[in-house]
Structures are given as structure tokens and as C-alpha cells.
Symmetry: D2
Subunit: 140 residues, 4 copies
């Protein structure tokens, strides 16, 4: 069970007024809810800066007619199978595949593995994003 | 079949020397291969700037004990089922889920839908990245 | 005079513990100070999303031997003199100049002007960053 | 004098057609000019990745009534005077100052110094961007 703790914050009146206005527009129910989100975003950034264990989501687009590409991408992933949580493949059209590879590890490991995958001949374009593993990010 | 076209490029000698040095370190076989990658990256950025159809990959972390969260996330996605290509769910640990939602649409549509999903109460943190649909990004 | 307002926030205990730990490492004196910073960062992002008036800081590197470049850059800036607050020029070495152009306006205006300047022949590389105009970001 | 070198590039026909179309819209005179820009952007990114010497441009907004803030910011900068190339101060309005600090050094040094400055109590918001020192980025 999550135990909520309550504490006081002091903010300049005009800053608070503008914050209230913005979070209302965004649909937040109250200040605590909005502040929790800001705090979690901050903690995720800190995890990345400190090279903690995080989750990386790599997306790739490649042509499915490129000879051996799929096999090469598989080989690289098997070298790191303990880091790879999952792999989704989508047939975008007759020629193009989207592959999303979900990786767990330290920021630096994930970055290195992604660079290797994106650099494989035949991969058209790849982008990597990150998230927390969820630990210490209590979700209320 | 992909038809390769050949053309001449002129570059200052020192710029070319440094480029050659960097791409060799990165493992490229030749300049054409490296330039194709730079060109594709450029075209993906242009697609986003011009609000063309692209693929968005949204990742979310949330606690799987949050009541109704999963149902709410499903509802939002069903309102946009024609944009959502796929959905992967990973059990990160006893408490935490990672969900990756793959969305096709214009940049602005994908951004709006993602904001709504990320803003749902109980979602701890979300990140959105983009890729091309692969059209006009010939993959050789 | 800035009037401070005080209000209560409730946070899951584990989230609060981790937040306290991180902000102490960062040198914050107390939670209010750290939360004010997070709130201001959030408001600056909202200003950009909503195309409000902001400050853009554009930096350029170019070779100072390129004929007419300086004149061309000046011409573009004079077309937008009401947006340009200041301009700093630094002689990086015998060949290279850094120019920092400080621009006030809506996000979209600043972006368009920057693209035009960066695209001028002879500009080696340019980067644009943003800040608030400081209004509604009370600084305590 | 800059010596231009000429070499051949091969590209899939459809990729080349789309590239030509995009760079024409952007106002480039020819492919070489556009490719030079892409190559320079790539080299700047490599400089940052490899922690080479670069130029950082830090912008800050702060309230000019905050006691001792200006003195504190000066003190920090004097500790690093050999890294700081220049400093511009702009009076945004009756209350707000924009300060742009131009820093030369390795990426990691600049990042650390910026974090310290941004973290100073009274600074409302700061953003850091980077550029090359211009060496090895021949500007034709």
C-alpha cells in the first residue's frame, strides 16, 4: 500500500497563480497530482544522467527486401539477449518494416547497442527514447 | 528494384578529410553509405516539420495495481483505433508495467493523442519518439 | 515585493524520499526551492508549446573570410530589427567567428528567422535555444 | 585558401529525387551545398559525443532585484575565467534580466559549469546550447 505524506510548499503568489492556470488547462485535478508528474519527470532525467538502470525503446525502419538484414539484426540482439525484453515487428507497407526493440540496462549500454543496430546497413532510420524501470516512481 | 544514381559532390579538402576519419571510426564502408544515412535523417526531420504522416512510438510506465487505469488507456486507444498499429505490454516487475504504443498519423495528431495518454492519472512517465513511414527513404 | 503563498502537497512516501535524496545531492536547500525550479521549467515549456512570446538565443559559427556573409547576415537582421535585442560577435580564431543573436518574439517567428540565418551560405553551423521573457516566472 | 575536392556519390533514385525536392524548398543552390551542411551538423554532434573542445552558449533569466545574485554569478564565472569568452546582459523589462554566457571547453566542463550557474538561487531558468569551435568545419 502506498502511504501518502503531506508537506508544505511556499511559492511566490504570481508563480502559483500561473501554475494553477496551466495545470487546469491540462486537465489536472489538483496541484499534488501535477507536482507528482513534474517530480517523476525529474527523477527519470536523473536516472539517465547517473547512468542508472533504465528502459530504452528503439524504433527502426528498414526495407524488408534487404538481403540478410533481418538475420543480422537478430544476431546483434542475441549477443545481448539478457538486455532485450521484447521485440515488435510491424509491416508498414509492401516494402517497409518498423521494428521496436525494448531494452533494459544502463543508459550507456543501451546507447551503444542502439548505435550498433542503427548503424547496420539497410536500416533507414532509428530513434531511441527512454523511460524509467518504474522503481522509486510510485504511481499514485 | 532500386536504381542507384551517381552524381558528383565538391567539398573543402579539410572537411572531407575529417568526415572520412569520423565515418571510418563509425564503421561505414564508404562515403555514399554515410551520406545516405545523413540524408535520411534530414528527410525524417523534414517530415516532422511539415506535419507529414509519420510513425510515433510512445512508451509509458505505470503501476499495474492502479484501479481502472488499464481500462482507461484502452478506451482512449479505441477512440483512435485507426491510428494505432500495435501495442506491447511488458511486466517490468511485480508492480510496474511498460506499454509501448505504436501510432501512425500526422505529427500533430500523434502528439495530441500521446499527451492525453501520458496525462492519464496513474501513468508514471511517458516518452514519445518518431520515425518515418519508410516511404521515400529508399533503404540501400 | 514578492508575496509567498503556502499550500500543502501530498506525495507517496517512497517518491518523496527519493526526491529528497536527489535534490540534496543537487545542492537545493529545501523542497520548495527545488519545486519552484521544476514549476518554472514546466512553464517555459508551456510558453513554447503555446507559441507565446519568448526569447531565442541563436548561435552561429562562420568563417570570417567568406565574402559578403557579414553583410548578408546584417541585412536579414535589419529586416527584423524590432525582434533582435542584441548581437555579440566573438573572434574564435584567425578564421572563425561565433555570433550570438538574441531574439524576442513568438516561438514560430524566432524559428523562421533562425532558419533563414542558419541557411545563409557560409554559415557553418547554428543552434537555437529558448528562454522565457521572465514574466510570470517570479524568481525567488 | 580552401581547396575543393570532388568525388562521386551513389544514391537510390527515389531518395535523390526527394532530397532534391526538399533542398530546393529550403533554398539551397545545389546538392553539394546541402550535403556540406549535413556533414557539418554531423561533425558537431561527433565533437559533443567525443567530449572535444566546443563552444557552449548558456542563457539565463533572473530577476535583477534578487540580492547578491549578480555578485554570485560573477564569482562563479571568475573561477572559470579562462573558459568564459564573453557575457552579454540584456534588460528584458523592469524586473527581468537575460544573461548570455559564452563558454569554451570540453562538453563535460561546460555542462558542469552551466549546472552550477543555473542552480544558483534566484536564476529562474537556464538553457544551454552548443556549437563547434569552427576548426575542421571549413565554411564554403
Amino acid at each position: 500500500m502506498t502511504i501518502l505524506k503531506r508537506f508544505g510548499v511556499s511559492l511566490p503568489g504570481d508563480l502559483l497563480a500561473r501554475f494553477d492556470n496551466e495545470i487546469e488547462q491540462k486537465g489536472y485535478q489538483n496541484r499534488s497530482e501535477a507536482l507528482r508528474d513534474l517530480i517523476r519527470d525529474y527523477l527519470v532525467k536523473r536516472d539517465l544522467d547517473k547512468n542508472e538502470e533504465v528502459v530504452g525503446v528503439l524504433n527502426l525502419v528498414y526495407g524488408h527486401h534487404v538481403p540478410n538484414l533481418s538475420a543480422k539484426l537478430n544476431d546483434i540482439q542475441h549477443d545481448h539477449y539478457h538486455n532485450i525484453l521484447s521485440n515488435v515487428h510491424i509491416h508498414l507497407d509492401h516494402h517497409n518494416c518498423l521494428e521496436v526493440i525494448i531494452i533494459k540496462g544502463r543508459y550507456s549500454e543501451i546507447k551503444q547497442l542502439s548505435d550498433r543496430i542503427i548503424g547496420t546497413r539497410g536500416v533507414k532510420h532509428g530513434e531511441l527514447s527512454f523511460n524509467s524501470t518504474g522503481k522509486n516512481l510510485s504511481g499514485v
